[in-house]
């Protein structure tokens, strides 16, 4: 195929040069004026080598379906009331069903029309006449449920990305995994705890009115007035710093939500020097807030975050201007996280942590050192053995091995693949395995020499007969490596990558590169015997 040695040498040098150029940024510290002519990226190190955090979250997308249903139920209720259609007992359970009773035939007809025209996402699941009243169950269409779930995951991903960007992490990786999971990699993160807190906070902000007309005591005894809910209010004792939960009776309907917020920032109160979060509403939100406060003067407005009441101040007067604040028992760090979470919006559904791996930077540094040490020792053992066992031919194989390592690293740099600790192990293991190709060729060549062939014929036979075997053995190992890539998480993937890349180059270096030297010796230098 490539009879001309010169062409083969040029190909090898070119490949080597490309690999080396891409490795320059990783192994040297170039002056700036040179850098623009060079590839800019260093080898990417995995979290296990540079430290950082890996998270897998699960989005509870069923919750997003429930809250959509919640909104729809409220919407229908208002719609029916506006049209003076008579109904009773509207409610929605956790099974994803809205049920209500219609009191006469006329309203049934009209109700069906409204559902058909205005709520294409809903369908009537069942309707039966009980004691003269039409009992209707509405259900969200399956297709729509899937859409809501999918959207919840997508939006969670977007929101989390937004939050992480604002938190200030360099090169985060946030990717969907499977149907309802999100995998997050935060290299070099200094404060994993705050990061988890920020990422996982649902940050669902609601303004709700406090029900001071009904008795809280009754509600606690189980007689909750219809449309109300008992929540906990977080209160901090300013002297002791102790946080207590106090029950409070709330009208279960958000008059305004976090969606209406334009921006949020941390501020420090003049009176107590405490941090609080200052909110600015969007224009529509500001108008709503103005109206709501105007309508409810002297009543209490609860500020509810993720189901916990942070404060429930009395509305002294109509609040215009579109500003509000969340005070409560925050540290400054907590207030900062809350502000970022509110700015980037609420998660459409709560998330749960399925997996978390955090590696400190010092451990990563240790791993790099150990990795390099074992590569050096392993590599030297193999090189020494090859030189000892196959003499000059062994040295040719060794050169091929070293090129192999350069090619592997170069390829990782070019494709921005990640080098992990098992990945480093993969490199040294590849050295051990790549030797196999050389051994196959050399053993075959020795056999051919024993049969009395000339060096030239023996080398020819050695390379050509071993070639198919080499391909077969490499393909099988590649199959295993691919499966490993499919199955593994970060560090294992790194191993699969270096192993696969190493195997491919092993064929190239053992069959193509090493052959050049043999051919040169035999064709050009006319050597009479080979040292093998």
């Amino acid at each position: 195929m490539f009879k001309d040695i010169k062409i083969r040498v040029i190909i090898t040098l070119l490949v080597t040069a490309v690999a080396l150029v891409y490795l320059v940024p990783s192994f040297t510290n170039l002056p700036d004026q040179w850098k623009k002519y060079m590839p800019g990226d260093k080898l990417r190190l995995g979290l296990d080598l540079q430290g950082g955090m890996h998270l897998v979250l699960e989005v509870d997308s069923q919750k997003a379906v429930e809250s959509t249903l919640d909104r729809l139920a409220n919407d229908i209720k208002e719609g029916l009331m506006n049209r003076k259609i008579r109904f009773r007992n509207i409610e929605h359970g956790s099974a994803g069903i809205i049920s209500l009773e219609l009191t006469d035939k006329e309203s049934t007809t009209e109700f069906n029309k409204i559902i058909r025209d205005q709520y294409p996402d809903l369908e009537v699941k069942s309707s039966e006449i009980v004691e003269g009243r039409e009992k209707v169950s509405l259900k969200m269409k399956d297709k729509r449920i899937d859409e809501v779930k999918k959207h919840a995951v997508e939006q969670s991903l977007e929101t989390i990305r937004n939050r992480i960007d604002q938190f200030g992490v360099t090169e985060p990786e946030i990717a969907p995994q499977g149907e309802d999971r999100i995998a997050i990699q935060l290299p070099g993160i200094k404060d994993p705890r705050s990061a988890i807190e920020l990422i996982g906070k649902t940050a669902r902000l609601e303004f709700m009115l406090v029900d001071d007309d009904n008795n809280l005591g009754d509600a606690l005894r189980g007689i909750v007035p219809p449309g109300d809910i008992v929540m906990n209010e977080k209160r901090m004792d300013r002297k002791t710093g102790r946080i207590t939960d106090t029950p409070i009776l709330i009208k279960n309907r958000a008059v305004l939500t976090g969606d209406s917020i334009e921006t949020a920032r941390v501020a420090i109160s003049d009176r107590f020097g405490e941090p609080y979060v200052s909110l600015k509403f969007k224009p529509q939100g500001a108008r709503d807030f103005d109206r709501i406060t105007g309508e409810n003067v002297k009543k209490r407005l609860a500020i509810v975050l993720d189901g916990v009441v942070y404060s429930a101040p009395v509305i002294q007067e109509r609040i215009s201007g579109g500003d509000a604040q969340i005070t409560g028992s925050f540290t400054e760090e907590e207030a900062k996280i809350l502000a970022i979470a509110l700015r980037s919006g609420a998660l459409p559904a709560p998330v749960k942590i399925l997996e978390q791996v955090t590696v400190g930077p010092s451990l990563g540094q240790d791993s790099i050192q150990k990795g390099i040490l074992s590569v050096l020792i392993g590599g030297l053992l193999v090189i020494a053995f090859m030189a000892f066992y196959y003499k000059a031919s062994g040295m040719i194989a060794n050169m091929a091995l070293m090129l192999n390592v350069v090619f592997i690293l170069g390829t990782l740099a070019i494709f921005k693949a990640t080098l992990t600790l098992p990945g480093i192990a993969g490199i040294v293991l590849t050295i051990g395995m790549a030797v196999d190709a050389n051994v196959l060729i050399f053993e075959r060549t020795r056999e051919e020499l024993r049969l009395g062939k000339t060096p030239r014929a023996a080398i020819d036979a050695g390379f050509s007969k071993a070639f198919i075997t080499i391909i077969d053995t490499h393909v099988t190992t590649l199959i295993a490596a691919m499966l490993m890539f499919q199955f593994g998480t970060g560090p294992i993937k790194g191993f699969a990558v270096t192993l696969s890349v190493g195997l491919v180059y092993s064929v190239f270096t053992a069959v193509f590169v090493a052959r050049i030297i043999f051919d040169y010796l035999i064709w050009n230098r006319k050597v009479k015997s080979i040292s093998i």
């Binding site: 955090t358 053992l381 051994v439 196959l440 053995t473």
Partner: protein, 305 residues
Amino acid sequence: MELIKSGINIDFVGKMKFAFYLTIVSSIVAVAYLAVHGLNFGIDFAGGTVVQIKFNQPTSIDKIRDSLRHINMENSTIQQTGAASDNEFLLKTELSSSDLKGVSDKIEESLTSIYGKGSFEVRKVEMVGPKAGADLRQKGIMAITVAWLGMLIYITWRYELRFAVGGIIALIHDVIMAAFVFTLLGKEFNLTIIAAILTIIGYSINDTIVVFDRIRENARKNIKKDLGTVINESINQTLSRTLLTSFTVFLVLVALFFFGGTVIHDFAFVLLVGVIVGTYSSIFIASPFVLVWEKYMPGKRIRKS
């Protein structure tokens, strides 16, 4: 230099019967042991939390255990890791938490209250929820099964079904033995170990293929020789290569085993077992199986092609 003399002619096929019994007995022992004890799953698969902590001052496992008492986690597994002078410990518990405030935070706070702030460093935290663990277990089994199937298909395509079946039986044997030795030593099965097993599957088959390749070549050359002789010759002719490559991989694995650090240590160990067992199985299981198959279902293709 030659370690294996070129004219070597060991009667491998003649020792087949002995090897057969050895394989059967050892496999039964291994499977029985694994069935009784089960695999010792690490948190990757079982779910749980591992915290790796490095203390500034020497401390003892008992003292650490004591300091976990008031969060009711004194039953955690606590192991020293690395050299004694490293003061490094692994705390392991089956607990995992999907809450924002994880188990590791509790441990950290509890240790801080006893040892004081800044007297230790949390070097690594791994938390896997039970659900994720179960998922991974299933995926791991899947990956290994698919790897076996992949090898079966590839070798059937490149050679013949009976060769492929022989090769796969050898591979299954390798995996069982590696898992057995590993479990026997009380080591933990985790993701890295599955990666090592997949590597064994991909690598160990190589020896088998090299022998098969030679069997095919020799069978074509000497149509008259009986298969037993051909197989024995082929194993002998490739013996030098088989041992040499196993040896170079062995060298590398020894380096990884001793110098690679905790994570790589177990990984290298499984591979070491795999390489040794794999060398045995390609000589004494894979090729003899082809002979057994020939005995019961004589094939013609090998002579014809």
